[in-house]
Amino acid sequence: MKHQLTQSVLQYAGLLGVLLLLIAVFSLSSENFFQMQTLVTIANSNPDLIFVSVGMTMVLIVGGIDLSVGSVLALGSAVLGVLMVHYEWGLLAALPVCLLATGLCGLFNGMVSVWFSIPSFIVTLGMLEMARGGSKVLTDSQSLYIGRSIEGFGEPLQSISLSPAFLVAVGSVIVGQFLLTKTVFGRYLVAIGTNAEAVRMSGIRTAPITVAAFVISGVLVGMAALAQTSRLSTADPNAAIGLELAAIAACVIGGTSLMGGRGSVIASFIGVLIIAVLQSGLAQLGVEDATKQLITGAVIILAVLLDALRSRFGKSDA
């Protein structure tokens, strides 16, 4: 048991090291950075990316990819906006409809790609367009201001300064990691991502497992829609453009393989934090947006490069 604990600490040591290094560098170069307030702000502004990255990790592990998350988030947000503004529903009534809508998008992605053996890259690319179009149809391409009734979820709690959205997002990381490492479902996900035919020939139905990964991704995108809509008080049909790339970047920085079969929800979570710290640290240094993009891109490549080198040396050790 002790051995296992050491092992899992070691597993994340590299990533945590990078994260702490970033924090240290920014703290030295900007005296305002290393303050509780900065870190709390970073935490509270990223629950949406955390939710989405948890789902994305599962989809990537099973050997798929979900490019539609940003648009589906906008769709979920549009559903919340329309129900709460036009129909004056309460949040507790609107949220299940939002989760249902985004979950169905995931179900569609999964079923079409599994049943017709179409690469999920293509199916979710189509969904990316469809969901964006759908959110614009629903809102008539207008932003809908919702206001107080939705803000509670994204606002920091007085006692701990963290928002419920962040706490629930961290909860999803914990549940996601548990699913992945401790349950039969998680073991199947990894096995299918490694060699789907071998899993099938072992007498396991792979289709429902793969579809479930996409559904989980869809539902978590619904939670992300809630988090973002709550933070902005507004349902915006143009929200979250490019979010899929940020989520994939977070997963890849965390060491999840785009080929499937390898990944960790906690590592993706740390990946989100690395991206978030980098972004906000650079902003505090007064770096321009263009330069920020340049640096963020370089960090993603560097992270993957390190991972590739690590696994190469890992292999020669074995």
Partner: protein
């Protein structure tokens, strides 16, 4: 006729295994020389060495009196040696003309000259009488037989002195075969030497001038074809040996014959036609046949990996059924150790533990969907010990194990899951003697527990050692079943060729 190709002392080793030993062979200009042998006799290996597809472990080759040692396929082609292999080497997304002239596309400044390309391709096809194949057709859209013809046209179109054909007619219809033969006769008149591998003995009898027989990687004889009958050919391939049982296993109690643990009735699936057999509890039932006779296809159909078209499978006293997914088959009491462990038997990047437990997690090693890791580890550990798997521990990645130990993990997976009937497809292919011994012991132990065992193998020694009965498939049909007292290498080989001989009626 002058000697065109002469090889002596040809030897091929893979590691410590010698698959071809000191074989001599010669080919004259204007001759069709048939190469015969049972599975694994070394025919394809010899041809691959001549065509530069595999390195030579020992021996000399001479082509047209000059020393010849091709480094790779292109250099063999430059020297005038062409090979048409059993498996198709066409690019399905390119059209017929592009495939035909792939290595020498007519071009000017790097731009393909389409008129020229299609003209030359047309001519090559017409020469084989393939006027119905359009040069613009994408190759992937052609049937297998037509693809084979395109492949042959490709080889015939290149200038060659030696043409090697490995089972060229396996996928061809009767009329296609006739047209191919006409071409071969034409080439013969032009002085091309041809090496012809086929399981169809009547074809060999008809077209080959001389016949060389290989057995167990060794040269047996070379004779003018007209001097030997197809019966002689089979005798020579099998060594006329009795191959009597060397079974070490103790006599077991078999279950009652009227209540078999597995019965397969009129199963039909693709090449597999109307196959029926029954296996009693405690019985080990072997299935053999030539490559392409439908052995693997039969097992896959039983297991539901490729759903059967008709017929039924009955396990124990359950209802007769036809499995449509391996998951159903496993629930129905079957287990299958697949032929290609890397392709569909193992999760190579994962641990021994994961691989051993993968299909036992849901039924045995979990509660409410949560994996009981201690139980999983214990089971994997005890399987490792039971199978004597050589590893650093159950967390070792399976891909880093030797072939024999990998196979033990596949077997361990199914032992952990448990079943009433175990299907083994080539259980010991490419693994060392010690691992092989261990797997035979496991099979024997399973049979003693009253399980039904089906083993598909092309290695007759293996079947003689492990089986109570051996069935022979020929062209998808189960043609004969032998029991211990009646089997011999010769009889089994005769039966294997049954569907490929016009004189099959007489035994």
């Amino acid at each position: 006729m002058s000697e065109l190709l002469a090889v002596t002392g040809m030897t091929k080793r893979y590691g410590s295994v010698t698959v071809l030993r000191d074989v001599a062979f010669d080919l004259k200009a204007g001759e069709i020389h048939a190469l015969l042998g049972a599975n694994g006799a070394g025919k394809s290996t010899l041809c691959k060495m001549v065509a530069g597809l595999t390195d030579v472990s020992g021996g000399q080759m001479q082509l047209g009196g000059e020393p010849y040692a091709p480094a790779d396929k292109p250099s063999a082609e430059t020297a005038g040696v062409q090979i048409v292999q059993q498996e198709l080497n066409l690019i399905p997304t390119l059209n017929v003309a592009e495939n035909l002239l792939l290595t020498r596309l007519p071009s000017r400044f790097g731009i393909v000259q389409h008129g020229d390309l299609h003209r030359r391709a047309r001519a090559a096809l017409d020469r084989l009488g393939l006027s119905d194949i359009q040069t613009h057709t994408q190759v992937g859209r052609l049937g297998v037989g037509r693809q084979q013809m395109v492949e042959i046209a490709t080889a015939l179109d290149r200038q060659c002195r030696v043409l090697i054909l490995d089972e060229p007619t396996a996928a061809l219809s009767g009329s296609e075969t006739e047209r191919l033969f006409e071409q071969l006769f034409r080439l013969r008149e032009q002085g091309v030497g041809m090496i012809y591998i086929s399981h169809r003995l009547d074809e060999v009898k008809r077209i080959a001038d001389r016949t060389t027989v290989l057995r167990d990687g060794k040269w047996v004889c070379t004779q003018p074809t007209r001097e030997i009958s197809t019966d002689d050919m089979v005798d020579l391939m099998s060594g006329g040996g009795t191959g009597m049982a060397t079974k070490t296993a103790s006599a077991r109690c078999l279950g009652p014959a009227d209540a078999p643990v597995l019965s397969v009735d009129s199963l039909t699936c693709g090449i597999v036609q109307d196959v029926s057999f029954a296996v009693r509890a405690g019985e080990t039932f072997g299935i053999t046949g030539l490559v392409g006779s439908g052995r693997t296809e039969l097992l896959r159909a039983i297991f539901g990996a490729d759903p059967a078209d008709s017929g039924s499978v009955t396990v124990g006293n359950r209802d007769a059924t036809r499995f449509s997914h391996p998951a159903d088959a496993v629930v129905g009491g079957l287990a299958m150790v697949t032929e290609d462990r890397k392709q569909n038997g193992l999760l190579l990047d994962q641990s021994i533990r994961s691989n051993t437990a993968i299909n036992s997690l849901a039924p045995f090693f979990s509660r409410c969907g949560v994996v009981l890791q201690q139980r999983e580890r214990t089971a994997a550990q005890s399987m490792c010990e039971q199978m004597d798997t050589r590893c650093t521990g159950i967390e070792q990645i399976v891909g880093t194990l030797s072939g024999g130990n990998q196979q033990k993990v596949v077997v361990a997976k199914w032992l952990t899951r448990g079943a009433d009937v175990f299907l083994f497809d080539e259980p010991t292919r490419g693994i060392d003697v010690a691992a092989r011994r261990r797997i035979y012991e496991m099979i024997d132990a399973l049979a003693s527990q009253g399980k039904g065992i089906v083993i598909v193998s092309s290695d007759l020694e293996e079947l003689f050692e492990t089986c109570d009965r051996i069935a022979v498939l020929s062209a998808g049909r189960l043609v004969r079943t032998f029991d211990r007292s009646g089997w011999s290498e010769d009889a089994i080989l005769q039966a294997s060729f049954e569907a490929h001989r016009s004189d099959a009626a007489r035994t």
